[in-house]
């Protein structure tokens, strides 16, 4: 009985094997290449605060936006069986609303809060637009979000009336890099807070279960009294919220907004993070933890490539090779082959296995 219980627990986490394995691969590669890659030091930044530095910190810091968007993307993928390709545009719109509001007056904690709330509302409105197309009109998510993907960045441009407006204030710098007195970069803290909130939501509501149900079989979900439309809409609203947070972080990092380059192609990375996280892109079962780990794996890969002095324009090619390597290893056909091999090996040592089982 006990053996059965522990086995069940294991199968719950097998999904995380893929992202963990990818991170492990990158870590091993780095250990062989240059162990000093992992060193963490402290230094003093321009404002005279002690801060943590090192590749690990920059990986955790750099992946913040990606990790946050990947959280929302996982929900959308699980509920709708498709992906939102407008997240970059959505985050840009949210960021430009944030900038627009901050530029209209003095930057204080109050105005930042108002700006953040406004940009959350704006992003959730656009998320609701996507969600309505997907849930009410039954359009595939990728096509429905193609609309915003096409015109989202132009809308962001339009909101600010052109150019690349800047906002400069120590408060914004605190959000984008370091809070005085705290050695950990603020974006990492924000990701932790978001993860905590989402974790609490999953723990204390049925959102996770319902999303999974809708993703696996919409018809069955409906017959069980779950409203699939509402669940899909909620997943897009959550994604909108995530995009708003990511947009604010991205704006605060640079203290300006460039509607053309901000979070460019993050939709591709986010979908990749979801896939590396072991989630089926066709919807159904999901693990947000997997996607977040996937996001960190992608960032670790990028940072490694930069540490190897690969030119930034060529990074994509190497990234593609590693991605293909990871997905080929985790593909169903290869998995089946390894399973077969595994059972063969286990068949050779039957006696030991029996003892363990009892």
């Amino acid at each position: 009985m006990k053996a059965h219980a522990s086995k069940f627990k294991w199968s719950k986490y097998t999904q995380l094997l893929v992202p963990l394995m990818s991170i492990l691969l990158i870590v091993i590669f780095n250990l062989l290449r240059d162990p000093s890659f992992f060193s963490i030091g402290t230094s003093t930044n321009n404002l005279g605060n002690p801060v943590l530095t090192g590749n690990l910190v920059s990986i955790l810091n750099g992946a913040s936006e990606l990790a946050i968007i990947a959280m929302g993307m996982t929900l959308v993928t699980a509920a709708c069986g498709g992906q939102d390709i407008s997240v970059g545009a959505l985050a840009t719109i949210a960021g430009s609303v944030f900038v627009r509001i901050l530029r209209s007056g003095q930057i204080t904690i109050g105005s930042i809060l108002v700006g953040f709330l406004c940009c959350c509302v704006a992003a959730m409105l656009f998320g609701a637009f996507n969600g309505t197309l997907v849930s009410v009109f039954r359009i595939q998510p990728m096509i429905a979000t193609l609309v915003l993907f096409t015109c989202g960045r132009s809308i962001a441009y339009w909101i600010n009336g052109g150019a690349t407006p800047t906002i400069s204030s120590p408060l914004i710098t605190a959000i984008g890099s370091f809070i005085p007195g705290c050695p950990v970069p603020t974006p990492i803290i924000i990701v932790a807070v978001m993860a905590l909130i989402l974790g609490l939501v999953f723990r204390f509501t049925t959102l996770g279960l319902y999303t999974q149900t809708v993703g696996i079989n919409q018809r069955a979900a409906r017959l069980n009294g779950i409203n699939p439309m509402f669940i899909k809409l909620v997943s897009f609203l959550v994604l909108g919220l995530c995009c708003a947070v990511a947009g604010c972080i991205s704006v605060s990092r640079l203290s300006l907004i460039n509607h053309e380059t901000m979070l460019l192609e993050i939709e591709m990375d986010a979908i990749l993070a979801v896939a590396i996280g072991g989630n089926a892109l066709g919807g159904g079962k999901f693990k947000v933890t997997g996607s977040v780990l996937g996001a960190y794996a992608i960032q670790a890969l990028t940072t490694t490539l930069y540490a190897m002095k690969v030119p930034s324009t060529d990074v994509k090619a190497y990234k593609a090779i590693v991605i293909i390597l990871i997905v080929v290893i985790s593909s169903p056909v290869v998995k089946k082959a390894t399973n077969r091999l595994w059972t063969k090996i286990r068949a050779r040592i039957p006696a030991k296995k029996e003892v363990v089982a009892q």
Partner: protein, 355 residues
Amino acid sequence: MKRNPLKRREPLTDTMLLVTITIGIFFAMYFSAMAIWGGGFLRWQRVFDMLNDNAALIIVACGLTIVMIGGGIDISVGGVIALVVMSCVVHLNGGGSIFTAALLAIGIGLAFGLAQGFLISYLEIQPFIITLAGMFFARGMTTIVSVQPQKVAHEGFKALMNTKIEIPWLGYIAKKGNLIPARAEIGVVIALVILMFIFFMLRKTKLGRSFYGIGGNSNSALMLGVNVKRTRFISYVISGLLSGIAGFVFMMHTGAGNATNAAGAEMNAIASSIIGGTLLSGGVGNVIGTLFGVMTLATINSIVTTSGLRDPWWQEITVGAMLCFFILLQSVVLSLRGKGGFKGMIPKWIHKNKL
């Protein structure tokens, strides 16, 4: 009550209905543009300009239509075009001939198609991820081949670029009274030939019908004896091959290699296919519709430029709004035809064919 199966045929399939709508909207839009702005829209040259600019897009969108009919997606096409253009320009400038450059273009396209097709159909990996990696790889390779923008210096190729096919009877009389014929580039001819070829292949050959089969329901197709994996593999090979050819056509139009060439071509091609009535869920689609999808997008762009909306953001916002309109229209039209399912639970006009 028995009905004669021959008599109870649907008047129009979903494919034809969507194509008809697109063609109707295209002509409505074009004729209203003629009525409102006149000028350039009254001349055949405007149509040929749109074809000239979008020949590569038409070819790529045809390949994508096949993949989408088969229920997959290929987003590597834009990257492949950029890689082909850059490699061919470097090859030509390094003393290569036009023939070897064409072979190179086809070779690169075919290599991408074979690799992606193998990974997707035989290793059963999600097409989005593989072709995304393909796009990353192609874009990265483009900058590895050359970071600097390159211009073609090959004389023979320049002559080929400037060769225009003149069609006098579609020309117009200029102010001075001389006839200016309509001009089309060679790429347009290539694109149209490929389009007709694929049209007949999808209609008349066993392979073409198999694409619809695996896209509509791969299990049924398997039971009917279609080699699902091989068919899916071939669809990606065709898409890769066509993006290679499209790269060559693109180079014949622009004559320069640039790392940002054909940026967003994949999304434009997908949008064109969708406007042309191809469903991303597979099993429904037609390349004639795709042609009109490309032309519709070109007309929208043309109208936005002509109508004097000078602010840079209006073009994309208009295209987005039009796309939204088309998608909604498709959804509503298909739902009006849909039967069964959850009747009464949702308003009748929203109700769609599949869950």
